[in-house]
Symmetry: C2
Subunit: 634 residues, 2 copies
């Protein structure tokens, strides 16, 4: 393979080239109107019959000739005879010949079976639905390229249109490549990666109106990939090839496309998502996506969606945007469109946005993202406090009803989130993990409603309160106790190295996994080191940081560390052993304003509920004996 | 049947009562994650495995122990031996035991097959995706009551979750009632009404996440309806009964519900949609909807949607709203929530809203509506020029790209709309029919981009220009010729009354159907009357107004008029005969600003295109010999 370098094609240019050079040819099919919801009309659709198809009574009553009622009033009622002067009609009945008005039954005085009296004249055409009032035969009910909504189906049927010409759904072949890939299952061996991008692509393509065709995993083999691409380009309208789109030794996409057809773009000026291939094979557009999930999903939206929208003749509907204040600095490189996944919360009436991880391999960051910040190629990024525009992934109304929890993570927060969703369906909770100190600062800056904290103060021997007094200065806050939990050594099953004390951890040959700066667990570890007279330089791995308890447990489970400090539930979740060393107090720090709100009250009630406490205690290694106690307030 | 009167229950109260008294019980099923798009989680979902499940190389290169590279620089490269010091790894490969960093292949100098040199030290954990970087076993991937998006499916599969517990779709039985109803078809006899509400309900319910069960048409028979309701209440979670919800002699819903169960509400304080029945039969909610389509669809959304949302624990997502200036006065009655379908257009940067017909029988008004104006019970309505809030039915971005055409209607506008959609997929055209004079005024007031006009000036014998000079004063406008068309007498097949002249129309025994005030065709008729010395009082039916050419043709086709004045294509569409009497010039009046815009230029190009002209001439009775000529400008 000759060496190939990635281009830096501007994204809009790459998008335009693909849509112009490889537009999908339109094909039409006729489907029953009753089954056409969400389909897109291929042609203008005209009414075949009128609705109503005759002059119809709009009321229960009698049909008369209006002229026969003129002059009627209370003192001189007009008497009418059935058959000669009137006919009884119900709503929807045809108006008999010679009648041109309907009088409501409530306004009739029945004299005998065949005689009525009326007290006021009828106006011509009153209470009559004239022929074609709703739909007139021959009128255009819908233009072409119109996406059919429920009411459209009604109007079509009303106009006698029982089948409708719609654009066929374009088919999209999805080819996942990678020797390490396996089809989804619930046990995974070392060296295996579950193939899930294909499912995500299918789901997106379905939402956009295409019909996905999953072609099965292909190994990293040039000829195998080539054969599969050829097969796909013969059967599908679009070909999506996943991974191998970069310029490395096993990146075959660009070579396959250039051998079988034409490469349009290789590399776009974006971050993430740069290594993209677009091209044409057998007259069909082919999109080579990067392997990392976040890059792949963004690039799919950039290239596949416009092809489909253009096929349907539908204008893209931009996502809702909001202005938000940046909680943290976001840096960017010049020359590339930078896309940063963001958390957005509404605290005290202000939208605050914070960047999530920028690692393109973290699918969960797309799950957790409330929106996307786009930094144009000319931008260097934004400073904390800048106002930025965020393209929302969730409805704004949901963000407005989302409880923003930050600080240190505890599994009880997941339980709390689940209970909140169940008890208050209109409300949501998002939690980000920035450590206890980060949580304190977020409350101080008004960026969160609540923060999980477990900070041990060496001087007083007390948890949290001394830190809150020091760092939440000038803010009215309430500290609510959530859970007592065991901290201890997380070690492999059977504790092979016999870790008991901090001395054991500092021993030669023992690899430790630490927590990030500002984490309460790290403070506890530092305290233990000091108390036992150990030096952090003696601890191999002190510099390596995990950002959550589960991250620590994962490192131990994966064998890259022998021990870490963390909580019982994390060890249990990963099937590890746990050596308890201390019980710590994990509290929720809330702004006074939130605490006093309806939402704050409801949250407190949840925390104090038996069902929440028992669900948390079921996780093990913790106690809810005082959950919901007010520890401190000002 | 005893007489029953409708209540005036406030809408929010009626909604609350139904959701509280008749909430749908939640049922769970487990589905494959791959097929779970759009479903709603029933429980929190936790990861079963970590992603990645091992420390994985993030690059193509070599895995080393970082410590073995310390001190390397350009002058003193470090030499490493395969096996002893490094292993070759590709992206995704597991990191071999004893290695803790990856060096990219680009940064390696190959000395021989088994020896490399490196010029800078590796940092521990560089280019390694640590175990659990994306998903950590045991973490909560999703909370309960979460609607699954494409990325959610990816995260679930990444976490080894191959099946997911979701809420079952609640079933909704749909029972259309009415002796005059027929299943949809393309020929309709007098006295027959096509049943289409059931299809619209099904489509809405599907969109909201329920599973519709269409139960077939039931005649207006108390016992038959009762039997069907009982059957439905045994098999479905919700019962929807359509028509018969009012208080008339054949309105059985309230009686059936009260015999079989309990009536919660009969009549809500809304307009339209007042005659609604809600109740409980066999423990299931039953919703009795009015027969008129618009009332029925609004009421379905008011009552069925909250039941389903509440079942799924999902907060309603409000529609986008905009502020718009009212083009016409909208009156309202006190004491009821008034819902008015609105057209909304953006002209010269301002949103202008105008009410559509308020007749609840006009399905097409829902098709044409851009949004809904809600006037609260305390309001008397709004004056022209008031700023009002409109809840949008179409995306705002589509409204922003919609060409607003008003004035007199001509079928060539439908052709133009279809051509516009096809040639410029991002643009839309809506046309409302307010007559030529109404169109002039709309351009004068800046409420439309273009208006169709065909106004004959008796004094000068000229079309349009004298009116434009008089009424568009102070506005820069351009008059573009669209089509010459035949005006003539629209008469039944064979012209049984032998209509040739205006004298024939004024004859005794001939019923005329007129156009609304301000319509060019009406002016033409008035001119003909005057020219021939006829008095309008001689014309029977002069006072009865249709608002379009097709409306006139429909009246003749339906037998309620013998003749009307109109254009050839309308007569042809309804299978009627046509007696030509004059060729008139139908022009489009545009604001100068629109004419000069890109959109205006493109429209002119369309009007002048051969394909547009030939499609219009194919309608018959018209000529495009000068389409696109600039008739007048200032």
């Amino acid at each position: 393979m000759r060496t190939i370098y990635l281009e830096d094609t501007p994204l809009p240019e790459a998008q335009r080239t693909l849509v112009e050079r490889a537009a999908l040819p339109r094909r039409t099919e006729t489907v029953p109107t009753r089954e056409a919801l969400g389909r897109v009309t291929a042609e203008p659709v005209y009414a075949v019959v009128s609705m109503p198809n005759y002059h119809a009574s709009a009321m229960d009553g009698v049909a008369v000739a209006a002229s026969s009622t003129y002059g009627a009033d209370e003192s001189r009622p007009v008497r009418l005879r059935r058959g000669a002067d009137y006919d009884v009609v119900d709503t929807g009945d045809p108006i008999p010949a010679g009648r041109d008005a309907v009088i409501m039954i409530e306004h009739i005085h029945q004299v005998d079976d065949d005689t009525i009296e009326i007290m006021e004249p009828a106006a011509p055409w009153q209470h009559i639905r004239p022929i074609g009032e709703d739909v007139v035969a021959g009128e255009m009910i819908l233009p072409p390229y119109h996406k059919l909504r429920p009411v459209d189906l009604g109007a079509l049927l009303a106009g006698g249109v029982t089948t409708v010409p719609v654009l066929m759904r374009p088919t999209a072949a999805i080819i996942p490549t990678g020797t390490e890939l396996i089809e989804p299952r619930d046990t995974v061996e070392r060296g295996e990666i579950i193939e899930f991008n294909g499912t995500v692509f299918s789901a997106y393509l379905t939402e956009w109106g295409a019909e996905p065709m999953y072609m099965g995993i292909v190994k990293d083999d040039y000829d195998a990939i080539k054969r599969k691409v050829l097969e796909a380009a013969e059967t599908a309208d679009v070909v999506i090839l996943n991974a191998g789109s970069s310029a490395g030794t096993e990146d075959f996409t660009v070579h396959v496309v250039s051998e079988l057809g034409e490469v349009l773009t290789h590399g776009v000026a974006t971050r993430p998502g740069k290594p993209v291939v677009t091209g044409i094979v057998n007259g069909k557009p082919i999109i080579g996506l990067p392997g990392y999930p976040v890059s792949a999903y963004l690039a799919l939206e950039w290239f596949a969606k416009p092809l489909i929208e253009s096929y349907y003749g539908l204008a893209p509907i931009p996502r809702e945007t909001i202005k938000a204040t940046l909680g943290r600095r976001v840096v960017s490189v010049m020359g590339a469109d930078d896309f940063v996944r963001m958390n957005v919360g509404r605290v005290d009436g202000t939208y605050v946005a914070n960047p999530l991880t920028r690692a393109a391999g973290v699918t969960m960051s797309m799950v957790r993202a409330d929106g996307l910040l786009r930094i144009p190629p000319s931008g260097m990024g934004y400073e904390q406090g800048d106002e930025v525009e965020i393209e929302l992934y969730r409805p704004r109304s949901h963000i407005d009803h989302t409880l923003v929890v930050t600080g240190s993570h505890d599994l009880s927060l997941d339980v709390l989130s689940a209970h909140l969703r169940k008890r208050h369906p209109g409300r949501f909770m998002v939690s980000s993990h920035v450590g206890s100190m980060g949580g304190l600062l977020a409350i101080q800056k008004g960026e969160a409603h609540a923060a999980g904290v477990h900070l041990f103060d060496e001087a007083s021997g007390e948890y949290n309160v001394p830190f809150v007094e020091k760092f939440a200065k000038g803010r009215d806050v309430v500290l609510v106790h959530l859970v007592y939990r065991q901290q201890g050594w997380i070690v492999p099953k059977g504790n092979p190295l016999g870790i008991r004390s901090v001395h054991d951890v500092a021993r030669a040959g023992v690899t430790y996994i630490n927590r990030q700066r500002g984490a309460g667990t790290r403070l506890l570890f530092d305290y233990l080191l000091k108390q036992e007279g150990c030096d952090r330089a003696e601890v191999y791995g002190y510099e390596r940081e995990a950002v959550s308890h589960l991250g620590v447990a994962a490192a131990v489970a994966g064998g890259s560390a022998d021990v870490g400090l963390g909580i019982y539930s994390a060890a249990a979740a990963m099937g590890l052993d746990f050596v308890p060393i201390a019980e710590e107090r994990y509290d929720l720090l809330m702004s006074r304003r939130f605490f006093d709100s309806v939402e704050g009250n409801d949250l407190l009630e949840l925390i104090r509920s038996d069902s929440f406490r028992s669900d948390v205690e079921a996780l093990g290694g913790c106690s809810c004996r005082e959950s919901g106690r007010i520890v401190y307030e000002k």
